[in-house]
Each structure stands twice: as C-alpha cells, then as structure tokens.
C-alpha cells in the first residue's frame, strides 16, 4: 500500500535527477538539470524552501546527506565535473568545499557509514572513483582510484559498518576494527567491490559480472544484523540483480535475477529495514519488490504518479523470466 502524503512542487526549471530525504525524513534535497540544488522542509506534509543552492555549472545528478552527527551537510555532484559539499551554518546553507578532481561528469556521491568519519565516495564518467575524507579544519584528503570503470562509473554505494566476525558489541573503549567496503557500478557492465587495505589504499576486491550493459545503480542493503550481505544492482539491460554473500571471508557473491524489465532501470533503493527494494525504470515506473518466504522476489506494488496499487506485473515478470 503506497499513498502519497506530500507532493512537493520543486519549481525546478528542468528535469529533476535526484531527491533524497535527510536522516530524519524531515528535509528533502532535490537536484536538477537546472543546475540547482534545493532543500525543503517537508515536516507535517508541508513544503518550505530552505535553500536554493547555486554553484554547479551543469546538471546536478545526485545529492547525499551526511549523517547528522556531523551537522547539516549535503554533497552534490554534477556534470560540471565537480562535487560540492554544502553545509548549514547558523541557519544558512553555504558551499563548504568544492572537489574538482575529476575529468568528466561526476555521476554519484555516497557518504560512508558515519562510524568511519566523514568520507565521501564519488564516481565519475572519467572512470575514476575518488574518496574524500574530512581531516578536520576544513581540510579534505583525496584518494583516487583511477580506471575503476572504463568510460565511467555510474554509481557508488557503501557497505554498512559491520565488524567482521561479530554481531555483538565490541568491547567498549576499543575502536571497532571496521573493514571499509563499497560497491561501484559502471559502463563496463561491471559491479566492483572495493576494500580499504591496511595501508589505507583502496583495492579492487571483487568483480561481479552478470549485466550485459551499463550498470546504472548499485545499492548495498542496510545491515539488519544478519551475516548475509546483499547488494542490488540495475542496468541499462533492464535487469535487476540481487547479489548475496553469506560468508564474508570467502567473499563469494551469487546473483539472483529479480526481474528483467523492458527498459533501462535507473535506480534501486533499499528500505531502511532492507526488506523492500524500490526499482525505478526508464518507463517512469517505480515498483516495490519484496522477497517472499521461499526466496522469490515478488512485486508488491506499482508506484505510478504516487498512485499505489497492486499491479499485475508479478505475472508479467514471471513470463519475462521464462
């Protein structure tokens, strides 16, 4: 059951490319081909424009909210090859940092789990992925993975902060020994998993091959305390795969086809409890998927123009798979 509770007229003058709520679900950030980033207060079904951020010189592809423990921070990336980190100070949003280290469109930004500090991963059409780490006093350290995806990285998504081999709390006072990982997807049709080595360098850990066209988006599912890791990926080829890895040490991932759509699939997003996947396709359709008891992914709802209804696409999907 999907019901629209708020319709926000963004007054963007061109296509919207991303819309993200903050950690609390009270503020909405949008970005558009009109080169602007806007922030709205959407509490209680309202919409108050808080900020209209200008600074990009090209279409803005994605926005990402940092965890509120670091303050009110929003990152945006654009076709203008820049990443801008915006920050609210005394009620005013301002540009806090500009990262111009890419040679082509920056297509995706994603903040690392807050446990690691302020780290932003950026994927670009120049094929590189850069990692910006806040080192204090307005300084950002940049690490770059060149040639991560030939002719372009389209998406980056961090693995949740899970301490290996332990589901219970670490002994207090001791800094947990996190292993930082993220996934990226690109125009080489690959999903790649990256891991930070002990020397702080990023290394390609795994290549996941199943898509036959550009990987448009990857989404690492939030951790719900289970040892299984899950990644969703979607592609120009219309396919959505769910990748699972039951054993972190062996690091073997197996794909399961969620559905083959008739058009490009642009975006996948997990619910906070990691049990529902929202899939946005090129046919302007949004569908919600849930894993049934027997492990099959079932479309539970079509979200079209906000009109929620159970669709017949389950059967349609099965036919396509056959």
């Amino acid at each position: 059951m999907v019901s629209v509770i708020n319709t926000v007229d963004t007054s963007h003058e061109d296509m919207i490319h991303d819309a993200q709520m903050d950690y609390y679900g009270t503020r909405l950030a949008t970005c558009s081909s009109d080169r602007s980033v806007k922030i709205f207060d959407v509490r209680n079904g309202g919409q108050i424009l808080i900020a209209d951020l200008r600074g990009h010189e090209g279409p803005v592809w994605q926005v990402a909210w940092a965890h509120p423990m670091y303050g009110n921070i929003l990152a945006s990336c654009s076709y203008d090859r820049k990443v801008i980190i915006w920050r609210e100070e005394n009620g005013t949003w301002e540009k806090s940092h500009e990262h111009a280290g890419h040679d082509s469109s920056v297509n995706s930004v994603c903040w690392a789990p807050h446990d690691y500090g302020l780290i932003l991963a950026c994927g670009s059409s120049d094929g590189a992925i850069s990692l910006l780490t806040y080192t204090g006093e307005g300084q950002w350290e940049v690490k770059k993975i060149n040639n991560a995806h030939t002719i372009g990285c389209n998406a980056v998504s961090w693995a949740p902060a899970v301490v290996p081999g332990s589901l219970i709390d670490q002994p207090s006072g001791q800094k947990p020994n996190y292993i930082k990982r993220f996934a990226s997807g690109g125009c080489d049709n690959l999903i790649k998993l990256w891991k930070e080595e002990e020397d702080g360098q990023w290394k390609e850990e795994q290549k996941l091959e199943a898509h036959s066209d550009w990987v448009r988006d990857v989404a690492w599912a939030p951790s719900i305390g289970l040892p299984t890791s899950t990644i969703a990926s979607c592609s120009q080829d219309g396919r959505v795969f769910i990748w699972t890895c039951d054993d972190a040490s062996s690091n073997t991932w197996s794909p399961k086809l969620l559905h083959k759509f008739n058009d490009v699939v642009w975006h996948v997003s997990w619910s906070i409890t990691a049990n529902i996947l929202a899939v946005s396709g090129g046919d302007n359709k949004v569908t919600l998927w849930k894993e049934s008891v027997d492990g099959q992914w079932v479309c539970i709802s079509d979200v079209n123009k906000g009109q929620g209804s159970v669709s017949a696409s389950v059967t349609e999907g099965q036919q396509n798979e056959q």
Binding site: S11, M15, D18, Y24, S172, W266, H267, N284
Partner: protein
C-alpha cells in the same frame, strides 16, 4: 578519450544493440591502399572489452576475403540472442555485389561464412541500410541510380522503390526513415536527395538546394522526428551539414558550418538526437547538436582524415572512426583522462612512423596539411551538454519512516520545443509505504489495550484466537496476572483446583475435631519403666528432647513430632530431619520440601516431566521473595533441556516469574523472530507481562534488559518502517542508554516533525565531531554505566503517578532482597539525552494519574500457606497485621515536591533523597509483622529469623496512626501553601528542607514514642494552622518546647517553628 585502436584501413560495422558482448567488424576498404599497397582483403571481428585497460582490441576472427568493401553494415536480422554473435553482416563490394556473411560462423572459424551473394548492382555498392522496423529489409545503392530493396528471406530477387531517377547518377547514401518504416531516402554526389515511399513505389520528394555545390557524402534521418534529415557535403567549397524538414523542403532548415573542409561522413546518435558526429577533410571529428548547430565536442584526434564514423549502437558513449592513416580508433565522448593511455599511443605512433616508407621511396605519406599536434591536453573534456542517456529521468528512494520519495520526468520528444519542457511541472512525491497491515493492526490493538488498561479482555481475546494449545496456555497465564488470586488461578491452569484442596483440608480438620472432645475423660500418667513410662518421665521434667528421642527410638513418629512441636522450633527441625532420614516413602521428598520449605530442592531435582507439579508446588508454597527465583530456576531447567516442547513450556515459568528478559530469550530461541508477525507475537506477550509485573509486583519495570531492549528496538524499527512513528516511540524502551536505542529515539522524535526551537544545535546522541565542547554523548563505550543510575522517575514532572506506583524498586520485597537499597541511588540522573515530547500512554510510560490505581494483589496480600509446623492451625495472622490491612491504602499526600524533580525551583537541588515516608501504602503487612509464630508451649521468642532479616529498615516503617495522620496532612499542606506563595529561592529551600526534617516527627508518630503532652500540643498547633492563626500556633510551639524534653523534640520542633513563621510572614 581514445579507448581502443586497431591498425586497419577498413570499413567498420558495430554489432547490433541487442548483441552482447560488443563486436566491431572491419572489412578492408576498397577505396584506400595502405603503405604496403597490398590488395589482400579480409573481414575481421574484434571484441570491445572495456574492462581491459589496454588500447588493443581483441581480435576474435579473421576471414580472408576475395572482396574489398565500400560499405559494411551489421543487421540484427534473425537475432535470437542465444549465442554471443548473431545477426548478419552485409557488405557492399566493388563490382556490384552484395555479400551476406554470418558473423557467428566467422567467429567460429568456419570456412563457409557467406550466407548469400548477389551481384545485381552495377558498379560499387556504396550505400547500404537495414530497415529498423523490418530487419529483413535492406536497401542498397550503386551506380546508375540503382536502388534495390532486398528481402533477406528471399535474397535472389530484389525490389525497387520506384523508377530510377534521371539523369543516372551514383547513389552515395541510402537511409531508412527512423519513424516510418516504408520511407527511404537516397542521396548522390550530385547533391540531390530523393525520398521514396515504398507503398506508392515512387519518389515522393526531391531535396536540393540548387547550389550544385552539395556533394552528398552523408545522409541521416532524425532519430525522433520523421520529417527531418541531414545531408552532409564533401565539397570543400561547401563543407556544410544541411538540416532539412520535408514540411518545408524548399530550403534547408538549418545549415551547420563547423567544418573547414569537406565532410566525409556523418552519424546521428540513436541514443540522443542532439548528437550528430561528423568528420571531414579538416581532420576534425565534431559532435554537434543538429537542432541548434552548436558544436558540443571536438574529439582529440591526430591529424588524419577520417572517412567513416559510427556510433556504437549498444554503448551510446562509444564511437569508432576509421582514418586514412590506416587506423580505426574507438573513442568515448564522455571525456576523461588519457594519462594512462597516452604513453602507449606515442610509442605506437613512433613505431608506425618507422614503417611509413617500406619501399624506400623517400616519400612519406602526405602529412595532410595540419602539423602534428602531439602535445595534447592530457585531460579531455566531455561533451558540453550532458548526453541524454546519463540524465536520470526517474528515481525512488526510501527514507526513514517507510517513506518513499519519487520523482519522474515525463519524457518529452525534444522537437516539441523548450517551452513545453518548461511548462512541465517538476514535482517530488513523498509516499507512505505500508506493507505489513496485519502487523500494524495488531500493534494497534496492543497499544489500545495498554492505553485502556483492558488487559484481561485483551488476553481473553488472544486466548479465543489462539491457534495452538501452547499459545492458549501462554495467554491464559498472562491473563491470570491481572486477576485476583493469581497464584490460585495459575494452579487451576496447571490442573490443581484450590477449592478441591480446600475441601479436603476442611475434611481433615473436621476429622481432627472429632477426636478432640474425647480428651475430656481422665487418664493415667504412667511413670513405669517401659518406654511409655520413660517418656512420661521426660515430659514431666520438661525434657522434650529426651522424650522425642525416646519416641523416635520406639519408631513412634507421630508422638515424636507432636512432642517436638511443643519442644520448640529447634527441636522440631531436628526431629523432622530424623524423621525424613528414616522415612522412605515416595512422596517423602515432596513432604520434605514442603516442611523444610526447601523448594529449591524440588525445582532443582524433580523430573522435568513433572514440571507442572513442581510449578504448582512453588505456586502454592513459595514465599514472594523466592517465588520468582524458583519459577526462573524451573524455567531455566526446562529451557536447557533438549526437548523443544519443554523449552517452550519454560516460557510459562518465566511468565509466572514475571521475568521478561528470560521470556524474551527463551522465546527468541524457539521462534523465528525475523518476521514482523512473529516479533509481534513476542512483543504482545512481553508488553502484557511487563504491565502485569508493574501492576502486581510494583517491581521496577523500568529496567530493560539487553535482550529485551534489542527486541523492543527491533520492533520499534519495524513500526517506524511502516510509518508508525508515534507507536514506535511508545514502544521504544526509554530508560536505557544503549546507543542504538537512543539514536533511534532521537531519530523518531525528530521524524515526528516537532519543531526544533530556533537553531539550537540539534541534540543528537552522537559525539559531535566538529563541536568539541558538546557534552559527551552516549557513544559506544558509555554503556557500561551502572544501569540503576539511568532509571528515571518522572522527568516530565507534570504527571506524578499515584502513590501506589511511586515506590517501585523500593517497596517490593523481592527487589529489596536483591538490590541493596541505598537511599538516593535510585534517583534520577539528568537524562543524558533529551526527551522531547513523548506520546501519551506509552507502554512503558509511568502510569498517568487518570489511571485508576489497581489494588495490588501480588504479593503484598499474598500469604503463603503457613508452613506445616503444627497440626493445630494458627489463627490467621495476628491482630497487628490485621489492623494494618485495614489501613486505608488511600494515598497519603506524598509530598510530590520531594519525590519529583521540580524544574521550576531556580537553583534548588532538583532532586531530593528518597528518605520519604515510603512505607505507608506499599508496605506488605505480611512482612511488617510475621504471622508465623512458634507453636504454643514452645519457648518464647522463637520467630523465624529469615523474616526479620529480610526487609530493610525503611520497609518496616509503620503507618502513622490514624488519629495523628491529621498532623502530617496539616503540616504538609501548610508547607505546600507556603511554597506556592514564596518567591525567593532561599525561602523555598528552607521550606523544602523543613518538609524533609518533619519526617523525624512522622517517624516518632509511627513509633508512638512521643509523650501525650507533646502530641496533644501538636494537635493544638494543627488546629491553629487550620484557622490560620499562626501566632497562636507559635505560642503553643513555645509552650511545648519549654515544657518538654529537648532531646525528644529537637529533631523537628525548630523546623516546625520555621514553617509557622514563614506561614505567618507569607499570610497563606
């Protein structure tokens, strides 16, 4: 940026869009010779592997051909996408021949790769195109105005689109319309283009600008707009691209004049109609927007002319260009750094330069005008305009609270103009996603039950709806908690009716009483030497011990026991032991346990099949302070047993014990807790049990165990994910400082959308990284704080609970026995974390005033049956305890000002010690005065030690006698009045202090240790207070102080004076 290169002088064709992986076919060009002047020809297939960072392309197959080609295309005909390669390669040859190749056979290395061949054409076949709607249709053009339409299903006999155009001329280009399948266009070097309608079988329009300088080298239809096409001119005098719209075919719609010399080839992107590639004799490869004429991109090429250029149909950012220097290069138009690739390119250039003069003619190949620009920028900028394929039109992202944010941009065909684009509304929708309706409705019911206190009916409903016997049992057990005589009901549930036992009991008593009257007659006291005589002698001398020994020796057990009763507790105990040592019957162990009150023994050692019986025994006999522990013990044994059935029964024991934490642990072990409904199952029970414990045992339910906290937060997370933020908040444990729970609480509170005043830094339970002076948040590592310190009583102040509930943690004998109660340590610590607005009546909220305080049933007035120390029944209780039971449990005004933080007191200590007259209502009478006394005749003073040692001092406080209660209420009322009219903090402090100090007076009243003159004087003062005659009160005060013993009154009289003086001053 250049991705790949192949050293071939060749025509090129990409594999169709459907094909994966991507292949590039090259066929030796008929029009050029390379430096070797070789006329060998070949057809090759390369794979585009972008995961390989090198510039080389992997050659998959080479087929030596007898033909050289003017045109090569790869059609998707009969593509079933099973194999890696499919479709059909169609080549236009030099001598009017068209050859069809099977690319899969080429790759397989087959000898027979030609599907069909036809040389119907005259002259070289320079133009070929596949109909995208009917992929079996191929159009071809050659000399003499020849155009044929080939049906690949019937390749032998081509059709014509109509009569040949006159005068006869070469056909240099041919193209099918991209929108209308029966429309075909052809163009010739003369500059004329003709549009054919295959249904009419005739040309329908001729396009020419009459300049006679157009020399058509390229023709392409608009990918989206059916009536538009472009023509490119090879003529250096008119190096233009003309954009035509057939609706105004008199002159070109737009002319693109971006090349300096003639254009050799064009390609219009199918993925983005705003991208048109063109390459010319000015050695440039340009990407322009044919709709505006703007140059979006200039490919960084070397100085060579390109004679063929193609978009990759599958990867829209990729294109290939064939240049006269014998090379096919694959580029990306997305820019990017060439740093990694450049070195290699330079190497290759220099090495190929070495071979430029293989014949030693001394004449290198012409440099083609423009000097080499080797010093290129290492950074290649992308297209000025983002290509359509990276503009994400739609998106849906989840956010906290089960919200889904969606946006979509209705796809606009670009020709419909920018003005329409702007009219488009750019909306973002926020939707609520609810997937667990049953879960929500059950959660709702649970909340309603908690709010309405309708626990019994809730449990009953659950019992009625139960699917399994076990479920039914659990709910029955839970329900009993809310009923009177819960232990009795538990027993009933276990199959033991108290009434039955009672009846039997009465019967026994009757039998006994029948015997008693017979003692009326006379009897002999024999002191003979037999055993009877010896016993008699021992009795007569009061030597019970010897008498008992004698009886035992003679195996006269009953006599021994009876005598031992008379001989006192110690003797009785010894005798019992001896008896049990001798006796061997089956139920002895039970009797032993009953008599010795050693329930632990039963619970620990009974056969687990008899768990019901063990539980029944515990229910019947165990004292309140050990009851829970025993139930726990039994539960633990059951749980540890491998039998899954018994494991589930352990839940029942934990319910009896009121042990929420263990219930959770046991339940979690037995059930799959990941499903929302199964979690709901658990939470229902837990919540109800906690309520029961709260109501019946006045236990400190605010402490939440780790496991329970984890489950509750999981539950709250689930509720939140379904959008029930308020419910999630209500269920979230609020007095734990586990970081994840506090973080969730913070998130929930703020998600509810209550405004944050001003721009205060958000109070979030994290260490603010960039605000070093922020108070230390409860980050990981803080949760080892002693849990008791985090208990909060009622930090909101406005809802003081009824007194009956206030004392949890202190009053309960169980708690008292387990926790050393040091005054004050239970008290509120400032919550480390703010608690903004909380929903009313959360399940773990303190009971609000509007709730009718339930009369407690457990364990205050539960009295375990008197241990069988005597066959003669003791009269129930003693007068003292009966009197206490009659005490109104009505709340004595319990000086709320001292129990609750009073934020409005500026500077005042926010919290006070807990040494309040707490005992009043919660004091269990059965403990204040044990009703178990020694048997009649036993040496005096033999009461049970354990009872006396159990409670702390506070608990043994007696209530103030009724007649003196008026003193307390009057004084406290006066202090209250003074407090409310006092303004300065100093006075308030004084009054608070006075209120505390008056406790000494109340204590003395309880003990009844004050002399009658003092108490009567105090009553006089109270009366004067009631008439507001404080000066009279003060006079009386002076009188008492002067006439009484100083040590008797010094603890409270000065304080009383302060109060009276203040009252006088304030005139309250």
């Amino acid at each position: 940026m250049k991705l790949k290169e192949v050293d071939r002088t060749a025509m090129q064709a990409w594999s169709p869009a459907q094909n994966h992986p991507i292949y590039l076919a090259t066929g030796t060009s008929a029009q050029q010779l390379d430096a070797t002047f070789s006329t060998n020809a070949s057809l090759e297939i390369f794979e585009l592997d972008l995961s390989d960072p090198s510039l080389d392309m992997k050659s998959c197959a080479t087929f030596s051909s007898s033909h050289r080609y003017h045109k090569l295309i790869w059609g998707p005909y009969k593509m079933d996408s099973k194999g890696d390669v499919s479709g059909v390669l169609i080549a236009g040859g030099e001598n009017g021949n068209i050859i069809l190749y099977d690319p899969s056979k080429i790759i397989a290395g087959d000898k027979e790769v030609v599907i069909a061949q036809n040389d119907k054409h005259t002259g070289p076949v320079r133009a070929l195109d596949v109909n995208i709607f009917q992929t079996n249709l191929v159009a071809s053009g050659a000399n003499e105005s020849e155009i044929y339409i080939w049906d690949l299903n019937n390749f032998a006999t081509p059709m014509t689109p109509g009569a040949k155009t006159q005068p006869p001329e070469d056909i240099s280009c041919i193209a099918w319309n991209r929108q209308v399948q029966h429309i075909l266009a052809s163009a010739s070097p003369s500059g004329r283009a003709t549009v054919w309608d295959l249904r009419k079988n005739e040309p329908i329009i001729k396009v020419s600008d009459h300049s006679n300088r157009m020399h058509c080298s390229g023709l392409a239809w608009h990918p989206d707009v059916a009536t538009q096409m472009v023509l490119a001119s090879e003529d250096d005098r008119l190096p233009v691209i003309q954009m035509w719209d057939l609706r105004f075919a008199s002159s070109p719609l737009r002319v693109l004049e971006n090349h300096a010399r003639g254009i050799l080839a064009i390609a219009w992107s199918m993925a983005d109609p705003e991208l048109l590639l063109s390459c010319g004799k000015d050695a440039k490869i340009l990407c322009s927007n044919p709709n505006t004429g703007e140059v979006l991109y200039e490919l960084p090429t070397n100085t060579q002319w390109c004679f063929d250029i193609q978009w990759c149909p599958r990867n829209p950012a990729v294109l290939s260009a064939a240049s006269f220097d014998g090379r096919i290069s694959v580029y990306s138009i997305m820019g990017g750094s060439t740093d990694g690739l450049r070195q290699k390119q330079v190497d290759k250039l220099s090495s190929s330069f070495g071979n430029l003069d293989p014949f030693g003619t001394g004449q290198p190949l012409p440099p083609l005008q423009i000097p080499q620009q080797t010093a290129q920028h290492s950074i290649v900028l992308p297209l000025k305009k983002p290509p359509k394929w990276i503009r994400r039109p739609v998106g849906a992202s989840f956010s906290f609270g089960g919200k889904l944010v969606t946006f979509e941009n209705v796809r606009m065909p670009s020709h419909q103009g920018a003005e329409q684009q702007q009219q488009q509304q750019h909306h973002v929708f926020i939707s609520q996603v609810v997937t667990e309706k049953e879960f929500l409705s059950r959660s709702d019911q649970l909340q309603q039950a908690v709010q309405s206190q309708g626990f019994i009916s809730y449990c009953q409903k659950k019992i009625d709806a139960s699917q399994t016997e076990f479920e039914k049992n659990v709910w029955s057990f839970l329900k009993v908690n809310f009923e009177d005589d819960s232990r009795g009901k538990y027993l009933e549930l276990l199959g033991y009716r108290k009434e039955d036992l009672g009846k039997k009991h009465i019967k026994e008593e009757k039998e006994e009483s029948e015997f008693l009257p017979s003692s009326g007659g006379t009897f002999n006291i024999s002191v003979s030497g037999d055993i009877d005589g010896l016993i008699t002698q021992a009795l007569l001398t009061g030597n019970f011990e010897s008498a008992v020994d004698l009886c035992l020796h003679d195996n006269r057990m009953a006599d021994a026991i009876i005598l031992a009763i008379a001989g006192g507790q110690e003797l009785l105990a010894r005798t019992q032991k001896k008896y049990f040592a001798k006796s061997q019957s089956k139920i002895t162990r039970l009797i032993t346990a009953v008599v010795m009150k050693n329930w632990k023994e039963i619970v620990e050692s009974c056969d687990l099949k008899n768990w019901r019986e063990a539980l029944a025994a515990v229910l019947t006999y165990a004292k309140p302070d050990e009851f829970s522990a025993l139930c726990d013990l039994l539960g633990t044994r059951l749980e540890n047993e491998g039998d899954s059935l018994l494991q589930t029964q352990a839940c029942l024991c934990y319910i009896c014990a009121g042990n929420v934490e263990k219930l959770v642990a046991c339940w979690t072990k037995a059930q799959d807790g990941s499903h929302p409904l199964s979690l709901q199952d658990l939470i229902e029970k837990v919540v109800i049990l906690r309520k029961a414990v709260q109501l019946t045992q006045a236990m400190d339910t605010s402490t939440v165990g780790v496991l329970l906290a984890a489950k509750m937060s999981q539950y709250a997370n689930l509720l939140a994910a379904q959008g029930s933020i308020a419910a999630a908040l209500a269920f979230l444990p609020d007095n734990t400082n586990q970081p994840n729970i506090m973080q969730l609480r913070d998130r929930l509170c703020r998600a509810q959308g209550e405004p944050v005043a001003g721009h205060e830094s958000p109070k979030i339970p994290y260490e603010k990284q960039q605000l070093p002076k922020g108070r230390p948040g409860p980050v990981a590592g803080h949760h080892q704080m002693p849990r008791v310190q985090t208990q909060q009583y009622y930090p909101h102040g406005e809802n003081p609970p009824p007194p009956g509930f206030i004392m949890h943690g202190n009053v309960n004998p169980n708690a008292a026995g387990q926790l050393p109660t040091s005054p004050g340590h239970m008290h509120t610590q400032v919550p480390p974390y703010p608690q903004p607005q909380r929903p009313q009546n959360g399940w773990n909220d303190p009971p609000a005033l509007n709730r009718v305080p339930k009369k407690k049933k457990m364990p205050e007035n539960f009295m375990p049956p008197v241990p069988i120390t005597s066959p003669i029944m003791n009269p129930l209780g003693d007068p003292q305890s009966q009197m206490l039971q009659q005490q109104p449990s009505a709340p004595v005004p319990l000086s709320s000002q001292s129990s609750f933080p009073q934020p409005h007191l500026p500077g005042g200590q926010p919290f006070h010690g807990v040494q309040q007259p707490l005992g009043q209502t919660g004091m269990p009478p059965s403990f204040s005065k044990p009703n178990i006394e020694g048997a009649p005749g036993a040496p005096i003073g033999n009461t049970f030690q354990h009872v006396q040692s159990l409670p702390t001092k506070k608990i043994t406080k007696k209530p103030i006698p009724d007649e003196h209660l008026i003193l307390k209420t009057t004084f406290e009322d006066l202090i209250q009045r003074c407090l409310s009219s006092a303004t300065d903090p100093q006075t308030k402090r004084k009054l608070d202090d006075a209120s505390k100090r008056l406790e000494f007076l109340y204590d003395k009243l309880r003990e009844q240790t004050l002399s009658p003159t003092i108490t009567s004087g105090l009553h006089n003062i109270a009366r004067s207070i009631e008439t507001r005659n404080y000066s009279e009160g003060l006079t009386m005060h002076t009188h008492i102080v002067s006439t009484s013993n100083f040590s008797e009154t010094s603890a409270f009289m000065p304080v009383l004076k302060v109060v009276l003086t203040q009252a006088n001053k304030l005139g309250v």
